[in-house]
Symmetry: C2
Subunit: 461 residues, 2 copies
């Protein structure tokens, strides 16, 4: 835990923003795999963790703003538990460490909630992504669980997002730890992979890195020789000489903060000329973003500027044609780069995605539904303390190219014959994690290899 004062202050900020009501924030329960007592590794809900700091299952936190009282509900350890679990710090003590005065047994929660209802108190809830918490809250508050979503508070959601979007120095330090473990995961992959291995063998080595720091992955590791398949959750291929790997993975630190980086490297440790060429364009895109990010710029403009670098590069290489600005405006480049440039990062890898992607990433205008832009998660004006990813990609997706060609789409910008020559090339993505500073931005973590010669150097060893 980060310290009593920190959680106390975080709740004070929230209380001031909201002014009134009773905020109920359930922590996560254990997630069963195949029966109740066989569970996945526990992940705390990030909002609960942010305000209460307790990385322990089956708690509920309550902030009664009207009466300036705070509560943790949980089932504390008994003497019987000590026989099976050894000496345990009591939940009550953890609650004190989070600066919460009132610890109450969970068996009282339904009574407590019923009283709130009886008193017609304004109860403030956030969306729930786990059905067990939907049922728990619905039962306690007398809601229809199938209509739980109708009872969430937009004011509460927005207040949490505004607060959590700006990271404190302490949070930035924690994120930096996660990024450095993430770096080690990538270097391990580069040093482990060799022709003839199964993808999952390399994944085993990558994920062991996160584990050996008592952390976990921050999301499902992508390690694939088919980088052009963006939603790829299998690891069953044998990697071969000539294959290009896309590795997108991250560590979650002990305190719950997330790293998220992507690299693209050849199985055999040497980029071919064709791979070097496209990789260089990818890094040009990345550096365009690196150069632009600072307080006051809208991230959508960064995304579009990166798209223009891509388009110009593709025109130079003969894969696109026409006017670059117009091609980007029309969205033709998205055939190579169909996703967004980045997203917020924090206690979640897509920070607060459970509260609503658009509420986190957008503020003054709605999401653009053009193919490519509709996948852009971050389109806010950047502010000091924002932590986010920059992750341009270049992919040759035969299914997409074929469909567009068949539909006669963007014939004025896309040189389909030339593009088809790249079928089988796969895809590449490069991703780093950044924080906005007072006058610019800084990449988090120790220096990470970026240019192909730097990566080749690592893979030699």
């Amino acid at each position: 835990m980060l310290g009593r004062e920190i959680y106390f202050q975080r709740r004070e900020v929230l209380k001031k923003k909201l002014g009134k009501g009773v905020v109920i924030l359930p922590g996560n329960n254990e997630s069963p795999r195949n029966y109740k007592d066989n569970c996945y590794s526990f992940d705390q809900d990030s909002t609960f963790l942010y305000y209460f700091g307790m990385d322990i299952p089956s708690l509920v936190g309550v902030i009664d703003i009207d009466n300036n009282k705070e509560y943790i509900f949980g089932t504390d350890f008994t003497l019987d538990d000590i026989v099976w679990m050894g000496e345990q710090k009591l939940l009550k003590s953890y609650a004190e460490e989070a600066g919460v005065e009132n610890f109450i047994e969970m068996s009282e929660f339904e009574k407590f909630a019923a009283q709130l209802k009886a008193d017609k108190r304004e109860v403030l809830l956030i969306p729930q992504y786990k059905a067990d918490n939907v049922m728990k809250l619905s039962k306690a508050l007398g809601l229809d669980p199938f209509k739980y979503d109708e009872h969430t508070s937009l004011d509460l959601i927005k207040a949490i997002i505004e607060q959590r979007n700006v990271k404190s120095q302490l949070e930035i330090d924690e994120l930096e730890k996660a990024v450095n473990i993430t770096k080690e995961m990538h270097l391990t992959a580069m040093k482990t992979v060799k022709a003839g291995m199964k993808e999952y063998e390399v994944v085993a080595a990558i994920e062991a890195v996160a584990k050996k720091y008592y952390g976990s992955t921050s999301f499902f590791t992508i390690f694939t020789k088919n980088g052009h398949i963006l939603h790829n959750h299998g690891y069953d291929n044998t990697v071969e000489d000539g294959d290009m790997i896309v590795l997108d993975c991250g560590a979650k630190s002990r305190e719950g903060y997330c790293g998220d980086m992507t690299t693209a490297f050849p199985v055999n440790g040497k980029y071919s000329d064709k791979q070097k060429d496209m990789y260089s364009l990818l890094i040009e895109m990345f550096e365009k973003a690196e150069e632009m990010v600072r307080p006051g710029i809208n991230y959508k403009d960064v995304h579009l500027a990166v798209a223009k670098v891509l388009t110009e590069g593709m025109i130079k290489r003969g894969l696109m044609k026409g006017n670059a600005d117009e091609a980007v405006k029309a969205g033709a480049h998205a055939v190579f780069f169909p996703h967004g440039l980045g997203h917020m990062l924090g206690l979640d890898v897509h920070d607060m995605e459970n509260l609503g992607e658009d509420l986190v990433g957008y503020e003054s205008f709605p999401r653009d539904m053009q193919f490519g832009l509709k996948s852009l998660r971050l389109a806010r004006v950047l502010k000091e303390g924002y932590v986010f990813t920059i992750e341009p990609g270049i992919y040759f997706i035969p299914e997409l190219v074929k469909r567009w060609k068949a539909a006669g789409k963007f014939m004025e910008y896309l040189n389909y014959e030339k593009i088809e020559e790249y079928f089988g090339f796969g895809g590449m993505r490069y991703e780093g994690d950044f924080v906005i500073t007072a006058d610019g931005a800084r990449r988090l973590g120790d220096k990470m290899p970026k240019y192909y010669n730097e990566i080749e150097e690592i893979m030699k060893k």
Copy 2:
């Protein structure tokens, strides 16, 4: 998948046993970690997997016995998905591979269920351990989700248990694969551990073994220098010279079958005299069980015979006194061995625990609530094809000993002063996986080290 005929036959057996009704078996959905799209590694529900074989999220299987029709409900891939996911085998084809003729889009499931209700059909359900499936079934069938459990069918549960408790040769072969990966996890731990390491560093190496076979762990790995703490889910200790490790872990094979083994070994690779002495008694207990298990014997009798070996050993060593049979009958030995001798093993590590522990493990008499025996999960007459664990343990649990001594418990059998000399010793457990054959039993997997000199030999390398 294991082959169309296998799933078809399994369902035929179930249909014959039940004779009538409509069985609805939901598969598992993805389990979100911290938001809807950030999920844990997928684990299929074992009953769904057994009858339908599809290791894919968000399906529902239906066996309409009255009309001899079978259905899989799911949301099949679309052309749009192929852009993001590459070429996909359709769910419809998987359903065919499971011998199921009717694949229907999930969007039709609620209508289908409503029709069953309208027709007053007898719907047969099993208990659900995931709230999302409770809500899904309740919504479709018009049940109160808070009272879902009232609608499960004991006939269905019992029919499934009787069928799945007996493993086919094919299943035994699959279990053997999982056991052999489990063996490698143990040998890796023995070769990896050294004084000064954090427990979690060794766990990282152990779990990477399961992953590198495209498997996963079958349950939360126990790796601890505090073997006497039975419910121990942290790995935060530094292991030191002189510490005894208890490692209880298992691999889940690609087809979903589980291994589950425990070893106890010293961090420094050499058992001390005291450790050798207790370890030898532990293996005597294990071998007593090995010697007894065969068709026709009740596993409770094996448990009690093992308890007697323990008691005699403790009397010989001066930690217990009096008559061994009477001490076991009274339950005094349970101060050292407070858990059961084993459990069924299959597609779940505690096979079918979601259907009810007692229904799986007991048949002709109820569970004995004496301390120790109340934790015995298996007390059936063993039959050919049963696969189960043998896992005796010896622990010195200061909290338990102190409480019993203070209460004056079993003064006639326990030599408390002598027992107290073992405070700090920790605990030991040894576990192997067995199948009952026509005339005896066989330990699954390649030869596993059992005696302390065998383990010391491995740790030398």
